[in-house]
Amino acid sequence: MTTNPPQRPKRSAVQADRIFLATLWAAVGIFAATMLGLIVQLIHGSWQSILTFGFKFLVTTTWNPVTSQFGALPMIYGTVVSSAIAILLASVVGIASATFLAEFAPRRIAQPLASLIELLAAVPSVVYGLWGLFVLVPIFRAYVDPILQARLGFLPIFSGPIYGVGLLTAGVILAIMILPTVSAISRDVITAVGREQREAGMALGSTKWETTWRIVLPAARAGIFGACVLALGRAIGETIATTMVIGNKATIAASLFAPSYTLSSVIANEFTEATSDVYISSLIELGLLLFVLSFIVNGFARVLVNSVFSKSEGR
């Protein structure tokens, strides 16, 4: 082989290929190992807490570092309720915005407006938190909460003392943060609805709005739902802004005005102060819970969104 000159370049090419493939495999291997390591480390880190509290960790309400009693239920409650408020508000405003951009806006202003909304997604979460803390919280304390209480105070969710910080404020700031996720994906999904269907609606004499409301939006339903679930996943995992406005108190109260805690904000707030091993382990188990929760929510969302796009591509 080596005596045959014309084959020499080929041989170095084969060698280069080998090195190239090995490098690719190394990169892939590092990535796969990282993912595996992430799961293993989170389980390993929370092992002590899992052994100590077992299943009770998920259903008890005491979070007391002094007596080393740790139960995650208040944080699960806080996470679920604040994210639910967020997705309720963001889905209405986000879907409507997306509809306007995709269906009604003149093309010339649609793109700049869409870019503007997408800029919302780029604003760092600590900036949202700062704005929430110094602008939104005082407004809620002085106006929004008292007005809600005066009108709807008979409902348990609007009763009790008003602090400004709390579940409702956290829900609203989260809603603003996840709005671009809802509107950007919904807009793509709505735009992907076939032209023939719109034309069919118009041909039957529907107004533009009737076509949108009865034909286009129902056709895009699955994808829009997927966009909302994806946004919900973001709300669940959001940390810094929530930590700054939710009040950070591990209790379950009926009132949305009450301070609360989320899975992520406990970790952010207490991790560096945690002294005992079981305390740290419990905090890591909260991280593991977050991992599982976001895995389920995101997986579900991907399936929904992908089903829409594969359908429209297959056409």
Binding site: A13, A16, D17, F20, L24, A26, A27, V28, F31, A32, G37, L38, Q41, L42, V93, G94, F104, L113, L116, I117, L119, L120, A122, V123, P124, S125, V126, V127, L130, W131, L133, V135, I176, S183, S206, T207, W209, E210, T212, W213, L230, G233, G237, T239, I240, M244, S264, A268, F271, T272, I284, G287, L290, F291, S294, F295, V297, N298, G299, A301
Partner: protein, 286 residues
């Protein structure tokens, strides 16, 4: 149902009124969304601009109670932490993307894609915990490097997904032309295909950088923060967004003022990186 039933041939005026209300509602919602953005940006600008000055970007933080000082160490810290993260994430991410684009069939590749999607949706604080258990707990030392690891993991899915799509977007004929010239797989991929996709890959990298520049949560227990100059990545280090957070939740007015100034710098930095990303994309499409 808010719209009257068409089959009843109900009066036309009512239908048009409902339609106008519907469209009006969507318009109201988009104004609300755009208004929220402008309110936040406007407030940050107004509050921040009065406190951003030369001293703020060149001086170290002063002790509690002493007015003035700046966030110079945090700015440098951000650049170091994000820089190391980028150096780690780019080769792994781009090469994994290349792998998925070229050989991405079968169960293993599908699993990788799924993992990458899962990672994209994972809360950053959980990734921070991972970095903590891996690089902080064993050495009993907070470090900028552990923060970079967390940031690299956050950037990875974005880079992997976009590189894969960018490389898939390069026409098959281009790759075949490379092979037809007798080039090796390596040469075809790295000298023809990847350069053809470099605009999109650059965009992905810049978006990844923008994303982690605004990230704070994982830093709390990795980089930890510092009041001093620190350029050794194996020591605790200050970081701009972390300083904004710390100052914001402090009880001191002067620190609140600095938090707004820091927030303004951070927002401007993130927006500039985002603009660069868009520019890179439109440039590559030309």
């Amino acid at each position: 149902m808010s719209v009257p039933d068409l089959r009843e041939r109900s009066n036309k005026t009512a239908r048009y009124v409902w339609s106008a209300i519907g469209v009006g509602f969507t318009l109201l919602c988009i104004l609300l969304a755009a208004g929220a953005l402008l309110a936040i940006l406007g407030y940050v600008t107004v509050q921040g601009i009065s406190s951003v000055n030369w001293a703020f970007v060149t001086e170290l933080p002063r002790p509690v109670g002493v007015t003035g000082g700046g966030v110079a160490n945090g700015i440098v810290g951000s650049i170091i932490i994000v820089g190391i993260a980028t150096v780690i994430a780019v080769p792994i991410g781009v090469l994994t993307g290349v792998y998925l684009a070229l050989f991405g069939r079968g169960v293993f590749a599908e699993t990788l894609r799924l993992l990458s999607d899962v990672l994209a949706g994972l809360p950053s604080i959980a990734i921070g915990l991972f970095a903590y258990t891996l690089f902080v707990a064993p050495f009993k030392q907070f470090s900028a490097f552990s923060a970079s690891i967390a940031f690299a993991v956050i950037m990875l899915p974005l880079i992997i997904r976009t590189s894969e799509e960018a490389i898939r977007g390069v026409p098959r004929t281009v790759r075949e032309a490379g092979f037809a010239l007798g080039l090796s797989r390596y040469a075809t991929t790295m000298k023809i295909v990847v350069p053809a996709a470099r605009g999109a890959i650059l965009t992905a990298i810049l978006l990844g950088i923008a994303r982690v520049t605004g990230e704070t949560a994982p830093l709390l227990f990795t980089a930890f923060g510092s009041q001093f100059w620190e350029i050794n990545p194996f020591h605790p280090m200050a970081e701009l967004s972390l300083q904004v957070f710390t100052y914001a939740i402090s009880p001191y007015d002067d620190w609140h003022r600095q938090a707004w100034a820091g927030a303004l710098l951070l927002t401007i930095a993130v927006f500039i990186i985002n603009l660069l990303a868009r520019f890179a994309l439109s440039f590559s499409k030309r």
